[in-house]
């Protein structure tokens, strides 16, 4: 898969950014050299870019149509499903995950305390349940998500897939690829799906 991807990119002339752009080459060196030498290796891997990240950066999140299509195709292929195959979980669990913005912080200044919960932080960017007024607007409002779209198999699968790997639908979107990075487990994603589509969820009920 990856090889096909790179071959396709080479054909598009979309790779080799560092060789082609001396500023990018220098910038990458300056950026990489600004971290402490005693950082654990796994911290430093967070600076590595996969092909999608690299292309999105190169095109300032606005890639040409061919690159866009390629990213979406390769990202679609990464999606994995829960073992039992059930895509709608518990909306109450999903509601909690939507509100939690913590988790995953590293470093020496303010790392997460041990046991800090990791959530989806949906409210940072989306309006969801009516009662939560502190919502962001980076992404579209998802209030009444299920009420407006129903909960057909297609909608449920789309919702799951979008959370798992947002770039499968919109290359270089602002939305993280929660499943791809194991930020959320497939089960946790099914809970957020339930929060969005379940008629009893405050997203749809209020």
């Amino acid at each position: 898969m990856k090889n096909t991807f790179i071959a396709a990119l080479l054909a598009l002339g979309a790779t080799g950014i560092h060789a082609a752009d001396p500023i990018a080459f220098q910038a990458e060196q300056i950026f990489r050299s600004s971290f402490r030498a005693d950082n654990p290796r796994y911290w430093m891997t967070r600076l590595d870019q996969d092909e999608a990240m690299r292309l999105c950066s190169q095109y300032k999140d606005n890639p040409p149509a061919k690159v866009r299509a390629l990213i979406e195709k390769t990202q679609q292929a990464t999606i994995r499903y829960p073992v039992e195959g059930k895509l709608i979980g518990d909306w109450k669990e999903g509601e909690k995950l939507a509100a939690v913005g913590t988790g995953g912080h590293i470093g020496f200044i303010q790392p997460d305390p041990p046991g800090r919960v990791r959530g989806g932080n949906c409210y940072a960017c989306h309006q969801l349940a009516k009662k939560e007024v502190a919502y962001g607007t980076i992404g579209p409002s998802l209030q009444h998500f299920g009420k407006l779209r129903g909960n057909s198999d297609e909608i449920v699968k789309y919702t799951y897939d979008k959370i798992y790997n947002s770039n499968a639908f919109t290359a270089c979107t602002n939305m993280p690829r929660f499943g791809l990075h194991n930020w959320l487990t497939p089960e946790q994603i099914t809970h957020i799906v339930a929060f969005l589509v379940d008629p009893e969820s405050p997203v749809n009920k209020d």
């Binding site: 509100a99 939690v100 913005g101 913590t102 912080h105 997460d112 800090r116 959530g119 932080n121 409210y123 940072a124 007024v133 502190a134």
Partner: protein, 155 residues
């Protein structure tokens, strides 16, 4: 002067010895170790706090106003002010119902000090906030809900 002093002594009933003595001009700040109203600040509910302040059955009053935003962008610093149009205000207190200890601050106002104070309080969560005013020997109260919101990138 004597009358005034008696009023101040009464007003100081729930406010600790230091405030009371200082108000009566018997000591100056820094001279004596303050006596702080531990019972009132340690109280865990609104009722216990009112009791410790000697404020039994305060009357709801439109003449007491709590000036604060409906929504706080952060709970660590929430601006709260109390003003009153009542005559003879002697003391003002600010209480946050859902804090571990509701009493945030109490003020004794000598004659000539306006019934208007502003400060900033910490709030652990969305809660009713109360303004308690003592005027003419009686207690009056007003409340307002302040929503505490989560912010930014999440911690």
């Amino acid at each position: 002067m004597n009358n005034q002093r008696r009023e101040i002594l009464k007003a100081g009933g729930g406010l600790g010895l230091f405030g009371l003595l200082a108000a009566a001009g018997l000591i100056t700040p820094g001279e004596a170790r303050a006596e702080w109203n531990k019972a009132a600040f340690d109280a865990k509910t609104i009722d216990e706090t009112l009791k410790a302040l000697g404020a039994t059955a305060p009357a709801n009053s439109a003449d007491v106003q709590l000036t604060a935003p409906d929504i706080a962008e952060n709970g660590a610093v929430v601006p709260v002010g109390v003003v009153s149009t009542l005559a003879g205000v002697e003391a003002i207190a600010i209480l946050v119902e859902k804090n571990p200890n509701p009493l945030a601050a109490s003020f004794m106002l000598p004659v000539g000090t306006e019934p208007s104070v502003q400060t900033r309080v910490k709030m652990g969560q969305t809660s009713d906030v109360y303004a308690l005013v003592k005027a003419g020997g009686k207690f009056f109260i007003a409340k307002k809900e302040i929503k505490v919101t989560l912010g930014g990138c999440g911690g």
